[in-house]
């Protein structure tokens, strides 16, 4: 009966936080090198100052230098994308909004690839952010030009921006790559966590902490946008400033995520909707729960990407798209404004 139903939200948070820790613990034990569960954890423990590793340096490196950073990056990227998607859906009042579908991911990939080619990889997150911001501005400008900013126009504009960004990204890689450019193109366009090491963990976790958490805290104001801008303004919200801050925030966050993982689609679409079904649309609960479930979701998608066709590896974006595209269709069928 109460507005917040705090016990249910608290219970969901605790359950999801526990599930996230369990997922991390379980996912690091999957992999082609046959390392036992207890050996994996003894190895990680040794790096945290708890005893000696039972593994050879090579096998110890597989756990500490490859698996753990990859799983942690997946968790951070999943959380970041889910927060971005939930915020974008509220601020644009578009249930189909998602950093991938509105072209932000593709713009971020282009920015990232451009600085990699120029050899200034320190600027990677900044360039990805700039790419995401430009792509978002382009999508909103195209969608809003000459008529009202409807959800369908937004998605169509997103497709245009996304396609152009993907084409340019592919072209830059094709033009400059010395080796296997196709593999690299695919990992940017479909997303891949195969290259995630500790620096990737640092970038992704920093972006979630520095941008994602303030977005989550400030995000409760998004509730007021449920009935549109006028209604939000009438409730005392500074609409223009809020929209600006929130959209730049999602572009920053998406940029940070894409710079370490490429454009992984649909995470920002699936999780916020799934969480809304369970706890409702109040952002105070929605944003943290979407972040936790996004982290868990991407850990398992990436584990599936590694394990399904072992020893070959799928780009993780294929796994998320196989799950996400049907969700998109379902939302499309349910949404009145696309009729």
């Amino acid at each position: 009966m109460r507005t917040a139903r705090p016990p249910r939200i608290l219970l969901a948070s605790i359950t999801l936080a526990a599930a996230l820790l369990a997922s991390i613990a379980a996912a690091v034990t999957f992999g082609p090198a046959d390392i036992r569960f207890d050996e994996v954890w003894a190895s990680i423990g040794s790096h945290l100052g708890l005893g000696a590793t039972p593994l050879s340096p090579l096998r110890d490196g597989i756990v500490w230098e490859l698996r753990l950073p990859r799983v942690l990056t997946a968790a951070a990227v999943g959380a970041g994308l889910a927060i971005s998607g939930a915020v974008m859906q509220a601020i644009t009042r578009n249930p189909l909004a998602d950093p991938y579908l509105l072209g932000l991911s593709s713009g971020a990939s282009l920015g990232a690839v451009a600085v990699l080619v120029l050899g200034v990889s320190v600027l990677l997150p900044a360039a990805a952010f700039l790419g995401a911001l430009v792509a978002l501005a382009a999508t909103l400008l195209i969608a809003g030009s000459g008529s009202a900013l409807t959800p369908s126009r937004m998605i169509l504009a997103g497709i245009a921006v996304s396609s152009l960004g993907a084409a340019l990204t592919s072209f830059v890689i094709f033009w400059t790559a010395t080796g296997d450019s196709y593999r690299e193109i695919i990992s940017w366009l479909l997303g891949s966590l195969a290259g995630a090491r500790w620096p990737a963990v640092a970038i992704a976790v920093a972006a979630v902490v520095v941008i994602g958490i303030p977005l989550m805290i400030g995000g409760r104001v998004l509730d007021a946008f449920a009935f549109g801008d006028t209604s939000a303004a009438a409730l005392g919200v500074s609409v223009a400033r809020t929209r600006w801050v929130m959209l730049v925030g999602t572009a920053l966050l998406t940029g940070g995520m894409v710079s370490v993982s490429g454009s992984i689609g649909f995470v920002g679409l699936i999780l916020p909707h799934a969480v809304r079904l369970i706890v409702g649309a109040q952002h105070r609960a929605l944003l943290p729960l979407a972040a936790l479930s996004g982290a868990i979701f991407l850990i398992w998608c990436d584990t599936a990407a590694r394990a399904l066709f072992d020893p070959r590896e799928l780009p993780v974006g294929i796994v998320t798209a196989v799950i996400g595209a049907p969700v998109f269709v379902l939302l499309l069928m349910r949404s009145r404004r696309f009729a």
Binding site: R2, T3, A4, P6, Q89, A90, R93, N94, P95, P151, I217, V221, D223, A224, A226, F227, G228, T230, S231, A233, A234, L235, G236, V237, S238, R276, L277, G280, A281, Q282, R284, S335, R336, R337
Partner: protein, 271 residues
């Protein structure tokens, strides 16, 4: 029926103008919107009713003129403070994301909420009272999108009441409602004005509803005030012809004695 107490809060507009796309959609409007009274804003389509309601709600600034609440400059206060005084019920708005009636009503607490704290016990009480006043308690847990037009209008009204406003602004609150829902909606806000001293301002199309429920009407035409005053005095056949371009006859209700406006068929089939 109309409290004459000078301490009753009221909104006062002087020479208020709103310019949209280079055109004055609200043009030098003077109006006195008093607490305890239901003021109806009347006028043909495009007369500037919605634009006036919006600027009264403190959304968007007037191009010129003065607007004051309880003697204070309305735009000298913060947007949040304005939202604690004035609540707006727009016409025909819906949520795209799933939202229950209670959650929608809880949004009315936004201007009162502290930034970090969750809803307080008092918030819950205000929300429950607003839902009871608007008669939506029975479907508090239904999704907004599944409600009928009348139910949805009541839910929006409950959200506005949860703001604990002193000024309640309604943009065509009877739009798309059936006769019973029109009457109950206006009776409800009429009652809030009388009982709680709220200043209620409603943009209306139906002149007979204005006669039946309003204490005061302001007739707009092309952004300008053409007449204002008690509805029975203002809504003469002459004024209706000049503003709406429709010949009308004002009858007297055989039982209540109240004026009833009837319209002749127009000679032209397009305006």
């Amino acid at each position: 029926m109309i409290p004459d107490d000078e301490r009753v809060d009221s909104m006062s507009a002087q020479q208020l103008s709103v310019v949209l796309g280079g055109r004055a959609v609200v043009d030098a409007v003077d109006a006195d919107l008093r607490g305890g009274r239901l003021t109806a804003i009347l006028g043909p389509n495009g007369a500037g009713k919605s634009s006036l309601i919006r600027v009264l709600a403190g959304i968007g600034r007037p191009a010129s003129g003065a607007l004051s609440w309880a003697g204070e400059d309305w735009f000298a206060t913060s947007r949040r403070d304005r939202a604690r005084v004035a609540a707006l019920v727009e016409q025909d708005v819906n949520a795209e994301l799933p939202l229950t009636v209670r959650m929608a009503v809880a949004l009315g607490r936004t201007p009162h909420a502290s930034f970090l704290a969750g809803p307080s016990r008092r918030d819950d009480e205000v929300i429950d009272a607003a839902m009871a006043d608007a008669g939506v308690t029975g479907f508090a847990h239904r999704q907004i999108s599944t409600l009928s037009g009348g139910e949805r209008q009541r839910a929006h009204l409950a959200r506005a009441l949860a703001q604990e406003p002193r000024l309640l602004l309604l943009d065509e609150p009877t739009n798309h409602l059936d006769v019973l829902a029109q009457l109950t909606t206006l009776a409800l806000v009429r009652d809030l004005a009388t009982r709680n001293g709220l200043a209620v301002v409603a943009a209306l199309h139906d002149l007979n509803l204005a006669v039946a429920f309003a204490d005061h009407v302001v007739v707009l035409d092309a952004g300008r005030v053409r007449a204002s005053g008690p509805p029975a005095e203002v809504l003469t056949p002459d004024l209706i012809l000049r503003v709406w371009h429709v010949a009308a006859t004002v009858l007297t209700h055989p039982v209540s004695g109240a004026p009833v406006i009837t319209f002749d068929r127009p000679e032209r089939t397009h305006p």
